[in-house]
């Protein structure tokens, strides 16, 4: 009997992983950022095990999707490896910080930080690709030294696109923090990587997405061993979520190809903002700053995230329309 129950619970966690994988890949935020809130808020998993499981599924999805992307030769392995110098260092710092967090029972900090990271990730994720192909920049000295150039074949535009990256040093600084967050929260921190490569280094979106996908596996593996020996990885959870998130990410990438209506993505952003607000509230509750009963908190979180996402929607859609008129 226990076997049947365990199997059902296992499948339940796999299902949670599938949902996280779908939302993560459709929004471009990555499975881990959605998995940890789902596990902690709805399955009652301690955040320590949730982040451990998320780290493992991050490596799995990175390897699973990077395999396909690198094959299409869009990901720039050279730029990726160069930036990994900073992310791996950041990951070591982050995962060592986590050991301190648990030693002094400061879990609430992680919840709060997680909420903030999700909420602040939404804007850059929505904004992605807005400037694609519009900014022509002059190469600087780092472009030459670090060979920040490349080309890929764009299937939609049916032409080869050549690009040049700039400000390598700024990319490295941002990547250090991306790595640190990855080690702290067990996520790929895709939004910060986007900031580092899209905004700081001026690389095309397709290149940054695929290169970042290739990178997060290396970053997550750096933290994994430290998590492992600290006992932050729970086998049963890690196994179920790795399978689930990988399946979800595959489904998500298929959905993404079929979405032509941009509004559909907003449904996923709305879910994301709800999860972000809930995580932040959970952090405040665990840090005993607030004490709101369950149902009330649900409505408060729902209201805050609804206001947030509606105002973002209005701002961005009006912005887009004005952009089209010009």
């Amino acid at each position: 009997m226990t076997e049947v129950m365990t199997l059902l619970r296992f499948l339940e966690i796999v299902a949670g992983g599938v949902i996280a994988g779908i939302i993560g890949s459709v929004t471009g935020l990555g499975g881990g950022s959605v998995l940890v809130p789902i596990l902690t808020l709805f399955y009652g998993v301690p955040i320590i095990f949730a982040t451990g499981a998320s780290l493992i599924s991050t490596i799995a999805t990175s390897a699973g999707s990077a395999g396909t992307y690198t094959k299409k030769k869009i990901a720039n392995v050279k730029i990726g490896v160069g930036l990994e110098v900073a992310t791996t260092l950041g990951a070591i710092v982050g995962s060592l910080l986590v050991t301190v967090v648990y030693k002094y029972a400061l879990e609430w900090v992680l919840y709060l930080l997680f909420g903030i990271v999700i909420l602040t990730s939404i804007v850059p994720t929505i904004n992605r690709g807005k400037y694609e192909g519009t900014r022509v920049v002059k190469p600087d000295f780092t472009s030459r030294i670090f060979q920040l150039h490349g080309k890929y074949y764009d299937q939609k535009q049916k032409k080869t696109i050549e690009y040049i990256g700039i400000r390598w040093w700024l990319g490295e600084i941002i990547m250090f923090f991306a790595g640190m967050l990855s080690g702290l929260l067990g996520i790929g921190s895709g939004a910060l990587k986007v900031l580092g490569m899209d905004w700081a280094m001026n690389l095309p979106m397709k290149v940054t997405t695929t290169t970042s996908n290739f990178m997060i596996g290396i970053t997550a593996a750096t933290s994994s061993s430290i998590y492992w020996y600290n006992g932050f990885i729970q086998f049963y959870l890690a196994a179920a979520t790795a399978i689930g998130v990988l399946i979800g990410a595959i489904i998500g990438s298929k959905i993404l190809l079929r979405i032509s209506n941009k509004d559909v993505r907003w449904v996923f952003f709305a879910i994301l903002s709800y999860l972000g607000v809930e995580m932040a509230l959970e952090g405040l509750k665990k840090g005993t700053f607030i004490n709101i009963p369950g149902t009330e908190r649900f409505y408060i979180a729902l209201t805050i995230s609804a206001i947030l996402i509606l105002s973002l929607y209005v701002i961005f859609r009006i912005g887009e329309r004005n952009g089209q008129k010009q």
Partner: protein, 138 residues
């Protein structure tokens, strides 16, 4: 140089996909073995599926000695199947980086030989030294 970069990309792509398939095989097989045998490595199925952080019996990664891995696999122990699957994932980036270092050496791109060697060092130090060291001190 571009030619080499393409070879590197192909090697990495094949490595990554092979690693995912191998690790998923071991993870799924491990989960199935645990269900069939009703446990693994002397832990009951309820200890394995518990995620109570404060309980001493909850099966966490630091309670599974990696030195028992070969014997565990040989005895078809589900726990060690999952452990192997997880470590295949953790090791994959090491293989990817080694192939990157080799490729940059072949194409005589010494700046990137240095950079990829630094990344490999960070990774190896984190995996083989910092983690086990923490284990000893705790």
């Amino acid at each position: 140089m571009d030619k080499n970069n393409e070879d590197l990309t192909r090697v990495i792509s094949i490595t990554l996909r092979a690693a995912v398939i191998i690790s998923m095989f071991f993870i799924v097989a491990g989960a199935a073995l645990i269900m069939i045998k009703g446990g693994g490595d002397g832990h009951t199925i309820s200890e394995i599926s518990s995620y109570n952080y404060n309980s001493n019996t909850t099966l966490r990664s630091n309670l599974v000695p990696l030195s028992n891995l070969p014997a565990g696999i040989f005895h078809l122990d589900g726990i060690y199947f999952i452990a192997l699957g997880l470590w295949v994932l953790i090791f994959t980036p090491v293989i990817v980086l080694i192939s990157a270092v080799v490729d940059f050496v072949v194409s005589k791109n010494y700046l990137y030989v240095l950079l990829s060697a630094i990344v490999l060092t960070n990774l190896v130090v984190a995996i083989f030294y910092i983690g086990p060291y923490l284990h000893l001190t705790s």
